[in-house]
């Protein structure tokens, strides 16, 4: 008969049972958002959510949840219910989200490579820093077309063109006493003609072919921006801010829960705990539009809410209600699993 062993490392822990079949439940505290869904779904009451307000706001050493390894039976319900994969059950080394018989929450965030223009709006807005956008800019010299020539007979090496050039394309080199050489790097030059206009000796002849004749010389393929926008699955909480701000509608976020968020402003005493705990930056103190204006106590952007319920758990005045009206999960034949997943509705 196997007993469970627990291994703790700082705030993370693993619970293992290794009799015939090896099962391991691992918990990553940094990923945990303190929603307490694991505590709610556990069929043997082995999980306890800690005082998340204090833990998150005061940098405590305590982990957000505690699992009693003597009660835990490594069934995996907490792992399936967790909306951010902070809990992960592995059976014989394989995570249960890869095992067909186990249901999974339907939850995803994807950026379409075709539509993305790598503007980085998603990277900037993501409250979890889960998005990384890498981009390779086109070669500037391929996007301009023109001619430039400096008449070295006329040039008096005053250096005014070098100083004025916005692209640092002109270089005057001192070769000896009062002997200079002037050159233009045509890879940098954008044919803006500022040097030509500024030259006191009219020593520069230049023309921008694009301005004069049109852009037929420029190859549209050369102006394409290459890049890759990646969402880190371990960090993403499916808030949907990226989808909200994307100017090209290139992001699709599917949330596991549907629901309603309500704040009772009568009970709220603006302690800010809900604002600090929310992983999705849904809640905020409103900014007054003019000095002395008193607005609502707390504002919400409910579109970004994932209905995790952490705010409800943390509010010291019970001013927040989070209702979950729909749970999205892959089909399962197990009636007990269906029942427990449905029990997450409130």
């Amino acid at each position: 008969m196997a007993t469970n062993t627990k291994e703790t490392k700082v705030k993370d822990f693993n619970i293992e049972r290794s009799a015939g079949e090896q099962r391991k439940l691992s918990y990553k505290d940094e990923t945990c958002i303190g929603c307490g869904i694991c505590e709610q779904i556990c069929p043997v009451e082995a999980i306890e959510l800690g005082p998340i307000g204090a833990i998150v706001r005061t940098g405590s050493d305590e982990a957000k949840i505690c699992i009693d390894e003597e009660k835990c039976v490594l069934c995996g319900m907490c792992s399936v219910g967790c909306p951010v994969n902070a809990l992960d059950l592995e059976i014989e080394g394989k995570p249960i989200r890869e095992i067909e018989t186990y249901p999974r929450l339907i939850s995803s965030a994807e950026i379409s490579d075709e539509d993305c223009v790598y503007c980085r709006a998603c990277e900037r807005i993501c409250p979890q820093d889960a998005v990384t956008v890498a981009r390779v800019l086109p070669d500037r010299s391929k996007l301009v077309t023109g001619e430039i020539d400096i008449d070295k007979e006329k040039c008096i090496d005053c250096g005014i063109c070098e100083e004025m050039c916005p692209a640092d394309a002109i270089t005057i080199e001192e070769l000896g006493p009062n002997e200079f050489d002037i050159s233009v790097d045509e890879d940098k030059c954008v044919y803006c003609l500022v040097c030509k206009r500024a030259c006191p000796e009219d020593a520069i002849t230049a023309a921008c072919r694009g301005c004069s004749y049109g852009e037929y010389e420029i190859n549209p393929e050369d102006s394409e921006i290459q890049g890759k926008a990646v969402i880190d699955e371990e960090e993403c909480v499916r808030c949907g801010w990226c989808e909200e701000v994307c100017p090209k509608d290139a992001v699709t976020v599917v949330k596991p829960f549907k629901g309603e968020l309500e704040v009772d402003l009568e009970k709220c005493e603006t302690c800010g705990a809900c604002i600090d705990i929310c992983p999705c930056e849904v809640l905020s103190f409103p900014k007054p539009s003019k000095p002395g204006e008193i607005g609502e106590k707390v504002e919400k952007n409910e579109e970004m809410c994932i209905y995790c319920g952490a705010c409800e758990k943390v509010c010291p005045n019970e001013a927040i209600t989070v209702k979950r009206t729909g749970i999205n999960y892959t089909p399962t034949k197990s009636k007990s699993w269906q029942k427990r997943l449905e029990s997450l509705k409130t």
């Binding site: 049972r17 043997v44 039976v73 490594l74 069934c75 319900m77 034949k333 197990s334 007990s336």
Partner: protein
């Protein structure tokens, strides 16, 4: 009738009766003998029986011809056969030290039949699978499946089930 005491601890198992102390290997031999007799009656060949019970053929042959086995070993074994299924199973498993032979002995010697029902409250945690000493349980689609043919009615899985989803009763 003789007085029997049984001491079971982690290191040693021994059965004491008025005729002296019996070491585990004697008890094991007695149990294997009983199973061998049953299996012979059921028509199994000696070759098959020796494999099922993990004893070499010559030893088996001696046993079946009443040699190399003390009467008291057999008596002890007969007594153990009358224990509750759980005690019989646990003791056999402890002295036999061979999973397959234990399974054979338990299946052969226990004549009681059991009915099994796993309720829909089963969560597929697998604790029963680990608990069952004779591998009568597997998980299928997150639900325990217990083979009633193999089940010996020890009820250890029923005891350990965290959701009280296992019901086993005598037919």
């Amino acid at each position: 009738m003789f007085f029997v005491e049984i001491y079971i601890n982690i290191e040693t198992i021994c059965v004491i009766n008025t005729q002296g102390v019996h070491m585990p290997k004697h008890i094991a031999s007695g149990l294997k003998y009983l199973a061998a007799v049953e299996l012979t009656r059921d028509g199994y060949s000696q070759k098959k029986i020796s494999k099922m019970l993990n004893i070499d053929r010559s030893t088996l042959s001696h046993y079946l011809h009443g040699r190399n086995l003390s009467l008291s070993s057999i008596e002890i074994a007969e007594l153990i056969k009358e224990f509750t299924p759980k005690d019989f199973l646990v003791l056999t498993d402890a002295v036999i030290e061979d999973k397959e032979a234990t399974k054979t002995i338990v299946k052969t010697c226990l004549i009681k039949k059991f009915k099994v029902n796993v309720l829909d409250t089963c969560i597929g945690c697998g604790v029963c699978v680990e608990t069952c000493l004779i591998d009568a349980i597997v998980l299928d689609n997150l639900k325990a499946q217990i083979d009633p043919e193999l089940c010996c009615g020890c009820l250890m899985c029923e005891d350990k089930c965290p959701t009280n989803s296992i019901k086993i009763w005598e037919e």
